[in-house]
């Protein structure tokens, strides 16, 4: 089968790889119909995540048709068209039982700090991902969800990660009616977080980024106020001033390790990989939120130390919340929102690219070429 093949930082290609096989009684084999490239894939692409091995296939945002099931799979049958949450969750461990499906303890032997994630290095469990024609889907009774009749496949694939992650970013912010919410990052997750902040009753939503085309998009999509930090002398002072010198009630970091904007963070986090990423957005979030405010982190960082002004967290009495989105927990509500027209996730998709052109797709997304916001890879069988 055709599959994306990681060859080293900023080097990927399409190759023929063996078909995945059932390896566990709760496995399913799924023929991929849509597979997105996620902003967090760029951390792998850039070589920022430890134990990202040459030869691996990335991809954790997938829809597909069930082709084969293991003997313990009862929920799915061959031919079902499913959306596959990016978390691999057993449903039995104490964390899954508490709906922490992103923190499953039976899906990742290599690291205890995170559950299994499709195509996300061996730190994420060592699973080949869905930027391929076929993918092995473990715990098929738990995660994969049959796509509701009439739902657009482009909406469905966005429900595997982008929508729940953006929604949970707002949810973790504990937004109260009237709150001012600042979202750092106008990538797909930041855009969705800004949109979802209104669902929790925000009174004002501000998005900060440096890419004008993305700011323009989110200004209309969320809708919200947008500011380009490159045009601001000091983003923190600006946010203080625009909130009557108090700071925002809630700040959301929807950027993570690949942030730009501060030379020292970029040098240590992106060039030298000495820390777990360039924590510029988180740094700004901590300093921009008001005393007693809440920081919500959905941007992805590496597992080693990250430079943030932790002293200000203590002195300002901040609450910091973060997690991988618990997709399964959120799906019923989010499917309702899509079906009722409250959320329109497919509007974020700017590029539909043949799987065979995966190298160019990564380049486009990584270098923000051609006003790319969200690229979807289309395997050959899905283009017929």
């Amino acid at each position: 089968m055709l599959a994306m093949n990681f060859r080293g930082p900023r080097r990927v290609r399409i190759d023929q790889k063996p078909m995945p096989e059932i390896q566990h009684p709760q496995d399913a084999i799924v023929r991929v119909t849509r597979s997105c490239i996620c902003g967090s894939d760029l951390h792998l692409y850039n070589g920022s995540v430890p134990d990202t091995r040459v030869g691996m296939t990335f991809g954790h945002e997938v829809t597909g048709v069930v082709e084969e099931v293991g003997q313990e799979v009862e929920k799915l049958k061959i031919g079902d068209h499913v959306l596959v949450p990016f978390n691999i969750a057993c449903g039995k461990c104490v964390f899954c039982q508490q709906e922490l499906y992103g923190n499953c303890h039976e899906s990742n032997p290599e690291a205890t700090a995170v559950g299994g994630i499709f195509g996300y290095s061996h730190t994420g469990g060592g699973y080949d991902g869905g930027q391929a024609e076929y993918v092995r889907v473990p715990y098929a009774n738990i995660g994969p969800t049959i796509i509701p009749e009439g739902m657009d496949l482009d909406d469905a694939v966005m429900l595997t990660d982008v929508v729940p992650t953006g929604y949970q970013a707002a949810e973790m912010g504990g937004i109260q009616p009237g709150d001012t919410v600042v979202v750092f990052g106008a990538g797909p997750v930041g855009i969705m977080a800004a949109r979802c902040a209104w669902l929790f009753g925000a009174g004002r939503v501000i998005v900060i980024d440096h890419l004008e085309y993305r700011l323009e998009f989110v200004r209309n999509y969320a809708p919200c106020e947008v500011y380009n930090y490159k045009e601001l002398e000091d983003v923190v002072v600006f946010l203080k001033r625009t909130t009557d010198w108090m700071g925002a009630d809630v700040c959301i970091d929807a950027v993570g390790a690949e942030a730009t904007g501060r030379a020292m963070q970029t040098l240590l986090g992106k060039t030298l990989h000495m820390v777990g990423g360039a924590a510029t957005a988180l740094h700004w979030a901590i300093n921009s939120v008001k005393k007693g405010g809440i920081i919500s982190i959905v941007g992805v960082y590496g597992p080693i130390d990250t430079l943030v002004p932790i002293g200000n967290v203590v002195n300002k009495g901040l609450t910091i919340r973060g997690n991988q989105a618990s997709v399964k927990r959120l799906l019923p509500r989010l499917i309702e929102h899509v079906q009722n027209g409250i959320l329109d996730p497919k509007a974020l998709i700017t590029h539909r690219i043949p799987l065979e052109e995966v190298s160019d797709a990564y380049r486009m997304f990584s270098a923000k070429l051609d006003n790319c916001i969200k690229p979807v890879l289309m395997p050959p069988s899905a283009r017929i």
Binding site: H24, G47, D51, V54, C90, Q168, I304, S359
Partner: protein, 179 residues
Amino acid sequence: MENTVTDMEVKEMEKTAIDPSQIKGWGVDANPENDPTYPMKNRNNGEHAGYSWERPTQQPKSVEVLHSNERPNVSAVFGTSTPPSGLSGLIRRAAFKYSENSYAHWLPLMLADRVGIAEGVLDDLTHGHVPNIFAERGWKAEWKHNRKNLVTRVAVGVVLASVAVAYLRSRKGDSEAKE
């Protein structure tokens, strides 16, 4: 040194365990409604029972799987992509002797990733495949959508390489003249 808790240390911990119900005032202000983890976590305090849930069927180990020493076992299900091999595999095995809390775990893994890149190129060559680095880097997209930048970068690279070659040649010429 391997970062594991010894049996002796476990016994010491058990000896010093304190029954909180014997402490005066224990729990008098407990307020289950004050749960900042909700709705992210539907608290059931199951973790108080430890690692005691009915585990899913164990996936057979068809490849070498390294596991964190912060857990006692391999998870019931795991990925089988790219098992450790070669020099990078040796480094990864050594890294997994240390916990996720240690630089001695993560930094060698980053090193192993870099060694793996060279191994990947060698593997390609031994299979008769010369990797097309430009295609793998997506330069076609760069050429289509960001041509000026690509041409500038290539030109700068060529100039720098030319200067370096010229400098090395002039130094070689100087040393030959002295001899």
